[in-house]
Symmetry: C2
Subunit: 347 residues, 2 copies
């Protein structure tokens, strides 16, 4: 065993289990509290063959363990003494913080000791370190970040959510391929409907980027391309995957988060006047709750890397671990690699 992994009470090796996930224990605003709680929740609720490695400050993690009667055997700890801070330039983390939870967790994945990595730490640092350790899949120009948006039907995957600005049509086509595989393998969509985010429905609408991307997507046999969608259609749930440039995706995602929070705030004011319990808004909040949807996958790299919100609750962490498990079990990375290389060959 290359790296010593210690269980709650003793040093143990990683057992030969079906799905092994490294979880950055230092990512959330309340680290490692949310991470420990999320991991314990996941082990209690998800398949019994999942094993989780908490990577982070061992003293803090073990102090957190004290709150629990029993720590599952399938939860291990890997001590990572370095701490990534907001002022660390993302690309420098791998060099300057080699013993951080992000770098050590991804190194575990790189060496094959785990099958996936989940982190609520700095998005930039996780992305940059994932690219460095897991590498791009052959043929992928630019890995993309996918994000799950609630809709009136079912959730949909939007990508790129911010990894790439100034995209070319070729990049958007790859996002479509990567998103389609992800929606199939982890979201249970049989033949994912892939749409191009645009400012009009007709082919040829939009800016230079979307007009040309439309033409390319039409010719992609491996994708169930359903055409353009406008901003208003996303929420109607007319597609499973929405493809856009990372600039647009990032603006949209951040806007959505804030609009939901804004409207919920307006509501809570009203509800507050009535006192608790008069109106059950649980369902409304649940639909808008990012915690339900389990993190943003980095797609197009040679592994499973899931990025969570810094404000992630234990439930959000648990759900991100569940998504990571599904991605591993379905062989998503292999399918993505096959799709991309088949498309390369057909060109």
């Amino acid at each position: 065993m290359a790296i010593g992994l210690r269980g709650p009470d003793c040093e143990v090796g990683i057992a030969d289990v079906a799905v092994r996930i490294a979880l950055d224990a230092m990512g959330t605003d309340r680290a490692p509290q949310s991470e420990v709680a999320g991991a314990i929740k996941a082990l209690a609720e998800l398949d019994a063959d999942i094993e989780i490695v908490l990577v982070g400050d061992e003293t803090l993690i073990r102090a957190e363990f004290e709150k629990y009667d029993r720590i599952p055997q399938r939860l291990r700890v890997l001590h990572a003494p370095d701490r990534v801070v907001a002022s660390d330039p993302p690309a420098s983390v791998i060099r300057r913080k080699p013993k951080s939870s992000i770098v050590m967790g991804l190194r575990l994945h790189q060496s094959g000791e785990v099958d996936a990595f989940v982190s609520a730490g700095s998005t930039g640092a996780v992305m940059a370190t994932s690219l460095f350790t897991l590498r791009r899949l052959p043929g992928v120009d630019r890995p993309a970040v996918g994000t799950i948006l609630p809709t009136s039907q079912d959730v949909c995957l939007l990508l790129d959510a911010g990894a790439n600005v100034d995209c070319k049509p070729r990049h958007l086509v790859q996002f479509a391929q990567l998103g389609s595989v992800y929606a199939h393998d982890t979201m249970g969509r049989e033949s994912p409907r892939v749409a191009l985010l645009n400012i009009g429905m007709e082919p040829g609408k939009g800016d230079e980027l979307t007009a040309e991307t439309y033409r390319l997507l039409e010719r992609q046999d491996s994708i169930n391309f359903v055409g353009n969608v406008e901003g208003r259609h996303i929420i109607e749930g007319v597609c499973d995957v929405v493809v856009c440039d990372g600039f647009v995706g990032n603006v949209l995602l951040k806007f959505y988060e804030s609009v939901s929070a804004f409207i919920i705030g307006l509501l809570k004011e009203q509800v507050g006047r009535l006192g608790d319990g008069v109106l059950d808004l649980e369902n409304v909040f649940r639909v808008l709750d990012y915690a339900e949807y389990g993190g943003a996958p980095l797609l197009g790299v040679g592994g499973v890397s899931i990025i969570c919100h810094g404000e992630s609750t234990p439930k959000a962490i648990r759900n991100a671990l569940a998504v990571a498990g599904r991605a591993v079990r379905s062989d998503m990375v292999k399918h993505a690699a096959e799709d991309i290389s088949a498309a390369e060959e057909s060109q």
Copy 2:
């Protein structure tokens, strides 16, 4: 008088009033019902020196008048027999439907018989015909559509909301100038805070367009440039004007409309279970209600042209007329022309 304008009961000339507005009576989904009601509401509630010319199918308009006990003298009718339909290419309307409400209303403005034009008809047709009749202001490369977004503080103006895709930095700088003048003159902002929509706060962040636009905006003395904002900040009300490419603006605007509708729908379901009147959501809905904010101005043309939503209620029409009145009274077009030409000279 070049064009015969008829009052409710007799033919009259346009009096020498302070603000004369042509209102397209055929634009909304319920035309001319919403337009007639909105105009009557405006005349009852707004300044006494406003005069409105309803432009549209005279028979339908007069049939609508029958519902009212009294039609104000300051409400006139101009018969426009042609009807613009969705399948009309916007740029062809001026040639192929010269006697439509859009063309005739804008011709009234062009000839100086009215000071402003308000329409809930086809956005593309209103824009194209406005450009043809009112012309671009000297120095303006691309007129932009502004749209008002509710925020947790006060409303803010976002532009461009869809008139221009594939913008250059120079265009975004002009949007900033036009938006700043509009916010000052019609929204009562003393020194409007102008922000650039981006995917990060620091200077130099973003794509090629925003990075370069940032540098140009910093050097614009006539604008109170407050830097980059992200999607999440819009709703926080940290600025009065948000500048972006028309692609991003259009996606965002349509998304916002649909998200609000979606969340309100979720809520109404919950409220419905309790029965009416248990929870006063009026305030929530009011904040999110586009009707409150009075239409989207086309900025950078030689006149006041306000575009309303096709679903506009009488209140929305009334508010658009109020905005048009403020734009006329404040001499917004003159100020915009001065600002643009001063910036041209300083370069």
